[in-house]
């Protein structure tokens, strides 16, 4: 096929999805499910606001519970989108072009979920803006020596940069969608969002500068955000948390869970929208390799953590005993099994390129990493230095309702994105074809 007609086909394939949606039935079914979970989220939040955090299982000594578990989990998922997009952009790995758009959208919605969780956890969520340094009538500033303040700044900046990166990246495709749209309402919708993009040389020059600059900003932010919440753990005098490996350990764990979700989304979007020649087995292969690599790094983190406990002894060793054989051993072994056993399929190309295997491994890893966050938060807290402050954590119905509700928030956002916007970066794929000579 000649290059021009291939260009034509790709553009048509991608930007005609919103006006002539290929799978309305499947989409509506998924969307109905997502809306049901979203409704559950609304109820769970309303109950929380009316009755307070006592509806959750959180109690001293386990004050963190589900909201912080969820916060770390969702942020981790988000990080993979940024890395796929920015790092591979700056490294000129063009195979990212089929994945980056929806991976960035995944980051956005994951960060929204992650950002809401600690706010809901505040007890008086409506005062969340007290975390921001602004001239106030209280005469106090946030505690700048605390990782908590920096965590807030990092997440806010990360959200802004993620939105900017995603939006700058989508503008040229919005313009082609506008030009191809036949119905007035789609023309208006895409036209407004495309900000008057005409594809002029000066536009592309500016675009390239803006896009690469935002990418370069986004990469260190991933490390900054993981470091800030890792230090929230590591900075505390809590055995099992007080460890300098945490920032690195959290970073690889975060990216590991994120690639798992990228894998799931790639499989779902490919089959839902029939993008079989844009998201190819090659992409599954790459995602599988990244999953395997980050998974093995995470495994190293587990081993290093256990080694530190064995080497250091004392309370660290007791926490390790708690993890492998205590009340929450199920979360530790659940994390180990779900994270690393199905992962071994990824050694073989045959399994990496199989959508169903990749998606199942992805689900297993996402669940495993959630259990890992659970294990870290709860086993660190439930036994304090004194026997009097020992208490088991039990999640309540509303804990689970909010957990499921946030999946609804994420899924609703992703499904609306899939329905309304170009899900694949068509112009970057075309440029790649052009540069490689057809």
């Amino acid at each position: 096929m000649t290059a021009p007609s291939r260009y034509h086909q790709i553009t048509g394939e991608v930007v005609s999805i919103p006006p002539r949606f290929p799978a309305p039935r499947a989409w509506w079914l998924l969307f109905a499910g997502a809306l049901a979970l979203l409704a559950l989220w609304v109820v769970a939040v309303a109950v929380l606001l009316v009755r307070g955090p006592g509806v959750w299982g959180n109690n001293i000594p386990v004050g963190w519970g589900f909201p912080i578990i969820g916060y770390v989990w969702w942020l981790g998922i988000g990080h993979a989108g940024t890395l796929i997009s920015s790092m591979l952009l700056l490294l000129s790995r063009s195979w990212r072009n089929s994945l980056n758009r929806f991976a960035e959208a995944m980051t956005l919605f994951a960060v929204v979920c992650a950002g809401l969780l600690p706010i809901l956890h505040l007890g008086r969520p409506w005062y969340f803006y007290w975390m921001a340094p602004y001239p106030n009538t209280m005469g106090v500033w946030p505690q700048f020596r605390s990782p908590l303040a920096w965590d807030f700044f990092a997440v806010v900046v990360y959200l802004v940069v993620s939105v900017a990166f995603w939006y700058v990246g989508i503008i040229p495709d919005l313009a082609s969608a506008r030009d191809r749209a036949t119905k007035r309402r789609w023309q208006f919708f895409f036209g407004l969002l495309a900000l008057g993009w005409r594809g002029a040389g000066s536009h592309w020059l500016r675009w390239r500068q803006a896009y690469r600059l935002t990418a370069a900003l986004a990469i260190p932010l991933v490390a900054l955000v993981t470091a800030s919440y890792a230090l929230l753990f590591a900075g505390g005098p809590v055995h099992g948390w007080n460890s300098t490996i945490f920032p690195a350990y959290f970073l690889v764990g975060a990216v590991f869970s994120g690639f798992a979700v990228v894998g799931i989304l790639a499989v779902v979007i490919r089959s839902l929208l029939g993008l079989r020649d844009l998201i190819t087995p090659l992409h599954f292969d790459r995602i599988g390799k990244l999953l395997l690599a980050t998974g093995l790094m995470t495994l190293y983190g587990y081993l290093a953590d256990a080694f530190t406990a064995l080497y250091g002894g004392g309370y660290e060793l007791e926490t390790l005993h708690d993890r492998v054989g205590g009340a929450y051993a199920w979360s530790f072994w659940g994390a180990v099994v779900l994270n690393f056993v199905p992962l071994q399929f990824m050694w073989r190309r045959r399994f990496r390129t199989s959508p169903i295997v990749l998606a199942l491994v992805g689900v297993s890893v996402a669940a495993g990493m959630w259990l890992e966050r659970y294990m870290l938060v709860v086993t660190g807290l439930f036994r304090d230095w004194t026997g009097s402050s020992t208490g088991l954590f039990h999640a309540t119905f509303w804990d689970w309702a909010l957990f499921a509700g946030f999946i609804g928030v994420f899924a609703t956002g992703m499904l609306l994105f899939v329905r309304l916007l170009p899900v694949v970066s068509a112009f970057e794929i075309k440029r790649e074809i052009g540069e490689s000579g057809g």
């Binding site: 106030n136 009538t137 209280m138 005469g139 208006f188």
Partner: protein, 219 residues
């Protein structure tokens, strides 16, 4: 076919500019509202059953604060006087004044007068009058020149910053404890206040670093 009219771009830019202005305006209005007298009620009087004048009783007659607010030296609350305190004088003077009818009625029925609070702190603040009086924080420091208030109003906003300004730098606000109810300190220069305050801090072991911690007020 043209989707947008030629002026669309201008409208779009104007909309973006308006949005930016709106956000800035909201921040300014919000900040102004938080400091406004509408919210802090500084300078606002409240309707009371009896229009009691501190100006008359304190300023003109020179009655000491502690004559009525008896527990201010020993308890967390300064205390409001029982009707009997009013009647120490008003059983003799102004016995038939219509203005004082509620006081006489209160004495007859035994039901206290219902004063509406003017100086109010949030209930999550632990505040103790006695320690402040004991260390020489003059009444006027927080309650203003009540000897000039025909009807009582709130003199200070009682925001957290107001408390912290003094807790972080107590020296200029300390006075001889035996003169704590004195209203007019115009004969004290800033230097004199500072010098006295430093000496008082040493004597009473007042440490701003400790007064600055959360649990001093939020217990």
């Amino acid at each position: 076919m043209q989707i947008f009219s030629p002026s669309a771009d201008t409208w779009f830019r104007a909309g973006l500019a308006a949005f930016a202005v709106l956000v800035a305006a909201l921040a300014l209005v919000g900040g102004g509202y938080a400091r406004s007298e509408y919210l802090t009620q500084v300078g606002w009087t409240r309707d009371q059953q009896v229009p009691f004048s501190h100006k008359h009783h304190v300023g003109d007659l020179g009655i000491d604060c502690r004559y009525c607010h008896t527990s201010v030296e020993t308890a967390t609350r300064a205390g409001l006087p029982p009707t009997h305190t009013c009647m120490t004088c008003h059983s003799q003077v102004w016995t038939g004044a219509p203005m004082l009818a509620p006081v006489r009625k209160s004495l007859a029925t035994g039901e206290p007068l219902h004063w509406r609070r003017v100086a109010q702190l949030p209930d999550y603040v632990y505040f103790d009058h006695s320690i402040h009086v004991d260390r020489g924080v003059a009444c006027v420091e927080c309650h203003g020149r009540v000897d000039r208030m025909p009807l009582t109003w709130r003199a200070k906003a009682f925001e957290m910053k107001f408390c912290l300004d003094c807790h972080r730098d107590p020296a200029p606000h300390l006075r001889p404890p035996e003169q704590v109810t004195r209203m007019d300190w115009s004969d004290w220069s800033e230097d004199r206040a500072e010098a006295f305050g430093m000496a008082a801090m040493r004597r009473f072991h007042v440490e701003p670093a400790r007064l600055d911690s959360c649990e001093i007020c939020h217990r």
